[in-house]
């Protein structure tokens, strides 16, 4: 820290934008207490996330740093944007209900060589479709999935459960007490989602009129000689 305030490093810049009046923040030696607090909170968030091994919920950070959780989320979002703008090789993201650092997807090829483990095996189309059905219709039974896909989903459900994407979340109260399946926190992590509410809306993917028409045409009942 050499006090060269001709430079505008991203943190101080961030603080200025969080507190636009910000006289205290632009100047590291400034005395504006509110601004100083914002900068200290941001620094503390950075420090904690650096040692965390799971996404850290905003509520926990809020409790530790004694500011409202909404402020934490707001600061993290701004911090993430500032990292991106500065072109860092890492990102701050909100995943599965918490904040965490991760490598930038741009640099996947380098990181992959370093971690050696490579990317996780991809899911088969069958597994992906089954996963989609579970994600949107959870809790859902094996039989309900079978009726949507027209295929026995047992093997695929076992695979998805073994990889931790889905889990048994309950039992159907009705007769038979079928096992009900739902997605896990791992699922959210693997998809980079914060919560199920972030799934793309299913309504956007209902086939358009052209598809419906094509299917109707393909399946149309021959008029036979029904005029008889």
């Amino acid at each position: 820290m050499n006090g060269d305030d001709e430079l505008h490093p991203d943190l101080r810049d961030l603080a200025r934008r969080i507190d636009p009046a910000g006289s205290g923040l632009a100047d590291p030696a400034g005395s504006d207490p509110a601004g100083g607090v914002a900068e200290e909170v941001v620094r503390a968030i950075e420090a904690v996330l650096m040692v965390a091994i799971d996404p850290v919920p905003a509520a926990l950070l809020a409790q530790l740093l004694e500011v409202p959780a909404s402020t934490i989320d707001d600061l993290c979002r701004r911090l993430a944007a500032a990292y991106e703008e500065a072109g860092h090789g890492f990102r701050l993201v909100r995943i599965a209900g918490g904040w965490r650092y991760q490598s930038h997807p741009d640099l996947a090829s380098v990181v992959e060589r370093f971690v050696l483990e490579g990317q996780t095996a991809r899911l088969s189309p069958a597994a992906l479709e089954t996963l989609a059905i579970v994600a949107y219709k959870q809790p859902i039974s094996r039989a309900q999935i079978a009726s949507i896909r027209g295929v026995d989903p047992d093997g695929v459900l076992r695979t998805l459960a073994a990889r931790g994407w889905i889990d048994q979340v309950g039992r159907d109260p009705g007769p038979g007490q079928a096992v009900l399946w739902g997605t896990t926190a791992t699922f959210l992590e693997k998809l980079g989602l914060d919560s199920l509410a972030d799934l793309p809306p299913l309504a956007d993917h209902v086939p358009g009129a052209d598809v419906v028409e094509a299917l109707e045409h393909g399946l149309r009942v021959p008029p036979a000689s029904s005029d008889g």
């Binding site: 965490r100 490598s103 021959p222 008889g228």
Partner: protein, 256 residues
């Protein structure tokens, strides 16, 4: 049976039907039924485990298609029964609804795959605590049940899936359409005419009956037999028109 890697593998009857109608623009009304049925049978033969449930689902759909199509192929349909007609429409609408639902999830699955691909290009920070904080942290081994250790060992030693193309061989259905065509042609050439029921009397497997029906349709299409049906859904009479060139009879590639 060599399966080319690039050949799409269909995951079920809906999958295949969607592919045929949407990608191959197959119109059940206008195109040769053999093409659709052929694709179905190829899939059935290709199916990896003899999974009865899947096979049955395929055949139910095949049967619905055959029925939709047969109405056009078969003569003697002037006296259409309104109830039958409505039932067929209902069946078709049900099939349509199921196809639409299946298609919706298929499309959204592709979106989820895109999300997973992107997320898979980032790795999380997992370094954990620096040494100077370690003594403060509760001992993670405290309360670790030996059972969890055993599970971790099993997880670690379970072979990881290896990159492989999933080639599978299954009991083919006992009778292929080509074989059925051969058998029927030989038999009909001798007797001249028979009811479909008589031709399939000894078969106790529904698959074989359907395969035989498809074989009859194929013979009809090629002009080797005529079909007569005096009542709606009544007995189908198969009449041999063919020459003696039975052995030269070529069925276009029914073998899956």
């Amino acid at each position: 049976m060599a399966v080319e890697v690039s050949t799409p593998v269909f995951e079920g009857p809906f999958d295949l039907l969607l592919h045929l109608i949407l990608e191959e623009k197959v119109d059940l009304y206008e195109i040769s039924l053999t093409r659709i049925v052929d694709a179905y049978l190829t899939e059935i033969e290709r199916m990896q485990a003899v999974d009865l449930e899947v096979a049955t689902e395929f055949l139910l759909i095949a049967a619905t298609l055959v029925e939709l199509k047969a109405r056009r192929l078969l003569p003697g349909r002037d006296d259409v029964d309104v109830d039958e007609e409505l039932a067929l429409w209902e069946e078709r609408d049900l099939l349509l609804a199921r196809l639409l639902e299946c298609k919706t999830f298929k499309d959204v699955a592709a979106v989820l795959e895109g999300l997973a691909d992107l997320a898979g290009r980032s790795w999380p920070r997992q370094a954990g605590l620096e040494e100077r904080f370690l003594s403060l942290a509760p001992d993670p081994l405290e309360g670790l049940r030996p059972e969890r250790l055993r599970q971790a060992f099993l997880r670690a030693t379970t072979p990881r899936p290896v990159a492989a193309v999933d080639l599978h061989h299954v009991n083919p259905i006992r009778l292929t359409v080509a074989e059925a065509v051969d058998g029927l042609a030989t038999r009909l050439a001798m007797v001249g005419r028979a009811t479909f029921r008589a031709l399939t009397d000894e078969m106790d497997d529904r698959i074989e009956v359907i395969v035989s029906f498809l074989a009859v349709l194929e013979l009809f299409k090629q002009g080797f037999v005529d079909l007569e049906q005096f009542d709606v859904f009544g007995e189908i009479e198969v009449v041999w028109l063919g020459s003696e060139l039975v052995t030269a009879f070529a069925v276009d590639d029914y073998e899956g």
